[in-house]
């Protein structure tokens, strides 16, 4: 009752404030089990698949490598190693195309066609005997990054600073992005890995409670996890209303606990650590064997795909090969790496699946509405109502148009924006607000870099 009254006053209604509700479009793939994908004849691996310093090569051209073997080691603390996704021969070490549109150093790996593709085992990290520090090292050595899409090295995120106790460990099974069903299938099929991962995470963070946040459209996954949870784990499954962008760390914390992460702060400032559910499963699967991450679950869907589904795809599989295998139609017009809201549009089909690719959404010609003519802002405040961070996108958009980037950053909290795109989605004038903000943020960052004192 108290909560209900609180919800009425704060306007949270069991979730966070504001946000939008785009069509979910998950029905076509959420019932399809995860299937192993074929090994592409040529694997293309960029060395920078994560946020932080690119990995450092430890192999040479012409070398034969086994699946799971270390190809590049972590270069510093905010960096992770890279493992061979297939057994094969390194054909070339050269620049490879990336989703950013730039060429960056990488590895071309030729798959052995008749290999058994057995995975190399490493030094196991036992959950019962290993210390927190050893588990963190194990997570880094496994090359694990946030599989939700941001690809931030997980061990950096899990390092709880001294003096800031971690109260809740939150597992993010929200998957608010339309079309994607990756986490949904992982929760239904890999519950053992998830609970194993939770044991590791509890030891690292020292948290006392675990909350798994799941949106109401995945009730079956919530029921499944609740039914299979081991009795000795302090796990609660919490189902929250469907709303975008609930899968964002800060929104999730507000939805589950009512706490608000301060501007510029981290979840640990309010006693929380948030980990993606697929990342947790990956930790639980890899660490007991000391393996490195070499494949991930990717949802492939959209009007341009004939065989939609959830596939376990080796990292580095070229996008072009993936589209050939799943039967992309001839007249594809748009390809998104990730979901349609926060994913990146791919301008080049020669890029490959990286650790952060959670989905591939392909639209055929004439099946998507193109944004119409851009009209001036009519100050209807639809974007203000939508912004989950309580920013003023209308004002920011006007300032961006006049290139007043400093005012945007100093007075209107531009840098808090995490580019969820809710403002652009609701704008009746079709103003590409989120693109303006992405541009503005990059310019502000460039300026701050140029004058670190200012």
């Amino acid at each position: 009752m108290r909560n209900l009254i609180k919800d009425i006053f704060t306007g949270r209604n069991g979730s966070f404030r504001h946000g939008i509700h785009p069509p979910e479009n998950k029905d076509e793939t959420n019932g399809r089990p995860i299937r192993q994908f074929d090994f592409a004849p040529l694997i293309i691996l960029p060395l920078a698949q994560h946020i932080g310093a690119p990995s450092e090569l430890v192999v040479r051209e012409g070398q034969e490598v086994m699946r799971g073997q270390l190809l590049a080691k972590a270069n510093g603390y905010v960096s992770v190693p890279l493992h061979a996704p297939v057994s094969g021969k390194i054909r070339k070490i050269a620049n490879v195309p990336t989703i950013k549109g730039t060429m960056s150093p990488g590895i071309f790996l030729e798959t052995f066609p008749y290999s058994t593709q057995e995975v190399l085992e490493g030094t196991p990290v036992d959950v019962n005997t290993a210390s927190a520090e050893e588990i963190l090292q194990g997570i880094q050595a496994a090359g694990i990054v946030g599989l939700g899409g941001a690809a931030f090295p997980t061990h950096v995120k899990l390092k709880v600073p001294e003096g800031k106790p971690c109260e809740y460990l939150m597992l993010n099974g929200i998957e608010c992005e339309p079309y994607l069903t990756t986490d949904h299938r992982v929760m239904l099929e890999q519950e053992e890995d998830i609970f194993m991962g939770i044991r590791y995470l509890l030891k690292v963070t020292g948290a006392k409670k675990v909350i798994i946040g799941i949106e109401a459209n995945k009730q079956d996954a919530a029921d499944h996890l609740e039914a299979t949870a081991p009795d000795d784990l302090p796990v609660t499954v919490k189902v929250v209303p469907v709303k975008y962008p609930q899968g964002s760390e800060k929104m999730l914390i507000t939805a589950l606990t009512g706490r608000e992460v301060p501007s510029g702060g981290l979840p640990i400032d309010v006693g929380c650590v948030v980990v993606n559910i697929a990342t947790t499963a990956e930790i639980g699967r890899l660490l007991p064997h000391g393996r490195g991450i070499q494949e991930r679950v990717v949802t492939i869907t959209g009007s341009g795909i004939r065989h939609k589904g959830n596939y376990l795809i080796p990292i580095g599989t070229p996008l072009r090969y993936v589209l050939e295998q799943v039967g992309a139609v001839d007249n594809i017009s748009e390809v998104y790496m990730g979901g349609p809201m926060m994913g990146m549009a791919a301008a080049n089909l020669d890029i490959s699946i990286v650790k952060g690719t959670s989905g591939i959404v392909v639209f055929a010609e004439n099946t998507v509405d193109r944004p119409g003519k851009v009209y001036p802002c009519i100050k209807c405040a639809a974007c203000v109502e939508a912004c989950p961070l309580m920013l003023n996108p209308s004002k920011l958009g006007i300032l961006a148009k006049y290139e007043d980037y400093d005012t945007m950053a100093e007075r209107y909290h531009l840098m808090d924006c995490f580019e969820c795109g809710a403002c652009s989605y609701v704008c009746p004038s079709h103003i590409p607000l989120v693109q303006y903000f992405r541009l503005s943020k990059s310019i502000v960052r460039k300026r701050q870099k140029a004058q670190p004192t200012a």
């Binding site: 950013k100 549109g101 730039t102 301008a347 080049n348 693109q435 992405r438 541009l439």
Partner: protein
């Protein structure tokens, strides 16, 4: 009577205040070199910052103090610089005129687009979306952010969507260098006429699929150019300190990626390079 009191009171007040002002003027006087005003008059008042100082007034102060030389103002004309130098009785300095040069020749008639970009029509915005639609990862996106940012109207976009720098108007303020998301502009003395108009770092002919005038790193230009040209990172690097510069290297380039910039004729390509006759847009790629 009343009127006299009023006059006396106001007159007295005036006298007191005037005395205070006179005293203040004597006691708090700050000497400012009158030459600064004269020099500032001779400067172009563009406040562009190309000299490295915040504006023309600070530059004038620095000139009078002898901290800088008149030639450091790239915007003023030869005559103005000489006038300042004569007035202050200093050396004019090395007036090596710098201009902005674009390291790309891939206009829409020779370079193809891989994807169609619809969004904010700005290079910087397009570069953030998968690097823009251009086939070549290094090439000019052609939305003309440099044209917009140029305060001196020295940059115009040609029909193929490539910026053309008017060397007469260019003052080397460096705004275009800063704004280009692909880092294609750099400042060079006008005397550097041998110019590599490409930034592609990939080796081999594969890039010709995307752009017909790209450098394929064949190394023919560097082959017998001695110290003048060396290949670094799959691109020819011209060492301008090696004299004399010569037109010979451009003659061997098969694609016309290395050119000779002539003041009147523009970019001259070698005889070996394939002639580009297409007037319209190069058809979009299939992928």
């Amino acid at each position: 009577m009343t009127i006299l009191i009023a006059i006396a009171a106001l007159g007295g007040l005036t006298l007191v205040l005037a005395t205070m002002l006179i005293v203040a003027n004597r006691k708090l006087y700050v000497y400012e070199d009158p030459r600064i005003d004269v020099v500032e008059e001779l400067l172009p008042s563009a406040n562009c910052g190309a000299c490295g100082l915040p504006g023309c007034r600070p530059f004038a102060e620095a000139l009078v103090n002898g901290a800088v030389q008149p030639a450091q103002c790239t915007v003023s004309t030869e005559a103005d610089r000489q006038a300042i130098a004569d007035y202050l009785g200093v050396e004019m300095g090395d007036a090596n005129k710098l201009v902005a040069r674009l390291a790309c020749a891939g206009g829409s008639h020779v370079a193809r687009n891989r994807a169609q970009y619809t969004g904010v029509p700005s290079c910087r915005a397009a570069a953030l979306v998968s690097g823009g639609g251009k086939g070549c990862s290094w090439g000019c996106l052609g939305f003309g952010d440099c044209e917009v940012v140029c305060d001196f109207d020295a940059i115009t976009m040609d029909p193929h969507g490539l910026p053309v720098v008017d060397e007469e108007k260019c003052t080397a303020c460096g705004d275009c260098v800063e704004v280009c998301p692909k880092d294609l502009f750099s400042l060079h003395p006008v005397s550097h006429q041998l110019w590599v108009a490409c930034k592609n770092e990939e080796e081999g002919d594969g890039i010709l699929e995307e752009c017909e005038v790209a450098c394929t790193a064949c190394g023919k230009c560097a082959m017998d150019a001695g110290e003048l040209i060396t290949m670094e990172n799959n691109l020819p690097v011209v060492h301008y300190d090696q004299y004399p510069q010569q037109q010979a290297p451009i003659q061997r380039c098969p694609t016309g990626a290395i050119v000779w910039l002539d003041k009147k004729l523009g970019a001259i390509k070698g005889a070996e390079s394939k002639k580009i006759v297409r007037k319209g847009e190069r058809p979009m790629g299939t992928s």
